[in-house]
């Protein structure tokens, strides 16, 4: 494969990943949101495979597989289980309506291009052009955490953000060393498991998983 082709493919996949993040803003039902995340993770797994093939890195292969196992299989299952267990209130309630939220997304994407452009330009790798897209995924994921009341969506936003970061590292340097990558996956997995527990606790204690109601501790 030529660098040109790889570059195109990477861009395409990155667009798709970002699109799925943005989809989280539009999607109302929690199950659909979990699906979006799984799809995005699948795209990233494909992306790492692609780059693994291009760069001939065996480690990156491993990373792709691990990613698939953790983020496409394990975590969506955990989240599905949580959604099912909560039962009620599947409808996620945002602070901002969809239109202004999308507007802010557009703004964040612009910021991301502004910020990452110099990095992308200075980078000789064929994957670098997609860096701003990856970072945009980070920012939009972050924004979803801000905008959504439901704990599950907040977690999804966090996972999307995490995905964006993974993607960013992947595109910039073909990923960080294998050991670190594995550590990160472990952390993410544990974090999600802990968050799941917390969702149940919150549900038990507050009869709702609207984290906006966690407002007793304030000045």
């Amino acid at each position: 494969m030529s660098a040109e082709v790889v570059s195109r493919l990477v861009n395409l996949l990155s667009f798709a990943a970002l699109g799925l993040t943005v989809l989280l803003i539009v999607r109302i039902r929690l199950e659909g949101q979990v699906r979006a995340f799984a799809w995005q993770s699948l795209i990233l797994a494909a992306l790492s495979m692609l780059i693994a093939v291009y760069s001939g890195s065996l480690e990156l292969f491993g990373v792709g597989i691990a990613l698939f196992a953790v983020k496409v299989v394990l975590i969506p299952r955990v989240l599905d289980r949580a959604v099912a267990k909560i039962g009620l209130s599947r409808v996620a309630a945002p602070y901002l309506a969809t239109a202004p939220a999308l507007l802010i997304c557009a703004l964040l994407v612009t910021v991301s291009f502004y910020v990452m452009a110099p990095v992308a330009e200075s980078n000789p790798l064929p994957t670098a052009d997609a860096l701003p897209l990856a970072f945009a995924g980070v920012l939009v994921g972050f924004f979803i955490m801000v905008n959504r009341r439901r704990a599950v969506t907040q977690i999804l936003g966090f996972l999307m953000l995490e995905n964006g970061i993974f993607q960013l590292a992947l595109l910039a340097t073909y990923g960080v060393p294998f050991l670190v990558e594995m550590g990160v996956f472990l952390d993410v997995l544990v974090a999600v498991l802990i968050m799941e527990v917390f969702i149940y606790h919150i549900k038990d204690n507050f009869d709702s998983i609207d984290v906006g109601e966690l407002g007793k501790l304030k000045e």
């Binding site: 972050f142 955490m145 960013l168 590292a169 960080v176 472990l186 974090a191 917390f198």
Partner: protein
């Protein structure tokens, strides 16, 4: 060998404790492990006192800066561990054996993650470990399983995870900058060696992520919002470690990256950011320390303030300020852990964290009261305690380099001083409420705190040569 035992003792202890049965066994194991870790930490400090770093493979490397942090972690860890035994016996919310087991196991896991963070040479592993500290402590924060502790823990988890995630971007960017320089590694030592050839633009960008990311962990405003909740809801020994040690670990991670970024882009950029962050932290802390109603939150906000001061010192730069900043880091750790542990005692006695409910502490519990008073006096920067000296060093240098920032910070310190003094006066003096049974709680378990007190006092009036040399070696790493 030393490194291995340092890391393995707490890890093994965590594993064993998770399986252990019987309260006595657990307590014994817990105490032994803590003291063992402390011994290993001391040995490591002794090993590195020559100035040469101690390495174990590519992954672990302990230089003087690491040694300083290891000593803080293990020393205060042991202190908190001992007190925790007594505290858990007295705390009614933690009576179930499962809770006790969870506490002890996670305690050592927490220590382990912190030790990994400060002894690894790999910036990625450091990141993983720092994230690990969050995961290890989040259940500890929620140990009491109240609504409030749940809320605090959730916020802590979410905010810290997000913050830390951002730090990962910074780490990858550094890695990227390093990779471009031809050194494809996340080894801090390698990056440090190649710092001069890194792309300054990328390095600067990386530092912004690092600052916001690890800054969240270090409790810098405005990323500090989880801190007062988590530190006030956690059980006292954990609050002590979180405020006294964990914040420093966050700062440590940032400092490691700063060294590299400074090598690439010059210190001007990072210094200005740190001064700005420090000032903002002071401002926010000052605002919340005026008429604060909850003493544990007061201590938490004071941590934000002191992290701000350390940041100012790091940002002011130059030998004096950096020396002062490291010195202050130690001092804050000593005084804040002392105070948080005592806050546990106060809570046990008064059954309330509200300042308004606590009166006449000096009469109700003379030892607790006297130590609390000493800790507060130290914390607000009065002689003869060490923070006076470190703050003096920081501000002396600051007034020369960033006079307006330093002057503003001084003014804010006066506000903080006024606010904390007013709160503490109410607690310490006057007559205790009639419903409070007099007498110190857990008196014997407070004995180790004498070490904190003595150190604060000794460092306040003199600068023992070994300590000064240790800081000096650290300063060499910082390039001052």
């Amino acid at each position: 060998m030393i490194l291995a035992s340092l890391l393995l003792i707490p890890l093994a202890a965590a594993g064993l404790l998770a399986l252990a049965r019987g309260r006595k066994t657990m307590e014994m194991l817990h105490a032994l492990a803590s003291l063992g870790t402390l011994a290993a930490g001391a040995a490591l400090a002794a090993q590195t006192s020559s100035g040469a770093p101690l390495a174990a493979g590519d992954l672990f490397r302990a230089d003087s800066l690491s040694a300083l942090m290891v000593v803080i972690v293990t020393f205060l860890g042991a202190l908190a561990a001992l007190y925790a035994i007594g505290y858990l016996r007295a705390e009614p919310d933690a009576a179930r054996p499962a809770t006790v087991r969870l506490f002890f196991a996670l305690f050592h896991l927490f220590i382990f993650t912190m030790l990994v963070a400060v002894t690894t040479d790999n910036l990625g592993v450091m990141w993983v470990a720092v994230e690990g500290t969050t995961l290890a402590t989040v259940f500890l924060v929620n140990l009491r399983r109240t609504r409030a502790s749940l809320e605090a823990a959730y916020k802590y988890l979410i905010l810290s995870s997000v913050g830390i995630a951002l730090a990962f971007i910074g780490t990858s960017l550094l890695y990227y900058a390093g990779a471009k320089a031809g050194e494809l590694a996340v080894q801090w030592s390698a990056l440090h060696a190649a710092a001069g050839s890194l792309n300054p633009e990328v390095a600067r960008l990386a530092f912004v992520f690092i600052l916001v990311g690890y800054g969240t962990k270090a409790g810098l405003a405005p990323m500090h919002t989880w801190l007062p909740d988590a530190h006030s809801e956690a059980p006292a020994p954990i609050s002590a470690l979180m405020s006294g040690v964990l914040l420093n670990v966050g700062l440590y991670a940032m400092l490691r990256c700063k060294i590299i970024v400074d090598g690439a882009a010059g210190p001007e950029f990072t210094n200005r950011l740190l001064v700005g962050m420090g000032l903002l932290s002071l401002l926010v802390a000052a605002a919340f320390l005026v008429r604060q109603r909850n003493y544990k939150r007061m201590l938490a906000y004071s941590s934000v303030e002191h992290m701000g001061i350390v940041c100012l010192g790091l940002g002011f730069g130059g030998y004096g300020a950096l020396f002062g900043a490291l010195f202050h880091l130690v001092n804050h750790a000593l005084s804040k852990s002392l105070l948080f542990i005592l806050s546990g005692n106060i809570l046990l006695q008064y059954h309330s964290a509200e300042i308004a409910d606590v009166r006449g502490l000096l009469r109700a519990a003379p030892w607790t009261g006297a130590l609390f008073l000493a800790g507060i006096v130290a914390l607000i920067g009065l002689p003869p305690f060490a923070p006076f000296m470190s703050e003096f060093l920081i501000f002396r240098a600051g007034l020369e380099r960033y006079p307006w920032a330093a002057a503003a910070a001084l003014a804010l310190l006066v506000v903080v001083f006024a606010g904390m003094l007013a709160s503490v006066n109410r607690m310490l003096y006057g007559a205790p409420p009639a419903a409070i049974a007099p007498g110190d709680r857990l008196r014997m378990w407070l004995a180790p705190l004498a070490a904190n007190f003595a150190l604060l006092l000794v460092l306040g009036v003199s600068l023992p040569a070994p300590f000064e040399d240790a800081l000096r070696r650290v300063l060499q790493i910082l390039g001052a």
